[in-house]
Symmetry: C2
Amino acid sequence: MRFLHAMIRVKDSDKAMDFYTKLLDMNLVKTITLEDSILYFLSDEDGQTQIELTANFENPENGYEHGNAFGHFAFGVDSMEEFGKKLHSMGYEYLYEPYYMPEAGLLIAFIKDPDGNEIEIIED
Amino acid sequence: MRFLHAMIRVKDSDKAMDFYTKLLDMNLVKTITLEDSILYFLSDEDGQTQIELTANFENPENGYEHGNAFGHFAFGVDSMEEFGKKLHSMGYEYLYEPYYMPEAGLLIAFIKDPDGNEIEIIED
């Protein structure tokens, strides 16, 4: 069996696509237009789809609800310093500033996507 | 930037590991033990981690809450028929029985993991 993707619903596809393709460097692999929604399939540099954004034509007024079952997506960067510069230049902020996680031996930080999903950034 | 994983919290790690490693054929790549939790990193057959299961030592009594922002994980199978046999032999049931999705030209079905997360199965 093959992992194909994780799907999240987004309220504003322009904002979400800006975040995932410009800040996180993902590529649009394909779109599927349905009666009630457009599906955007995104891959990182390896070319395999990992995330599907579902943009429904009708959305809840206050956006989608976040439980605590789903935690976050994690992305790896070569340099947290360079990532931080890009983040701020695009007008985004850290949710948690970069800190060293001794158990994993890694520098990590958290941001939020435009729909409020947490994204972990790991310097790997 | 590299997609590293999607993280979900699970109430019973034995049940979750049974589901993800035995039914969905994922492999345990590594674990990290923290003060309050154990993290299980899982990959499919390609060897790259895609899912992190967080098993906290203290959990909400009724399990974790599901909003509607996160939708599902999708997995590809060679044969939906063979998958269905395995699903039932392990005591799991379909949430939505296999059906043909004309817009994608694919046979798809849905199941739920032990924590109630939806999993899409696609014959690809």
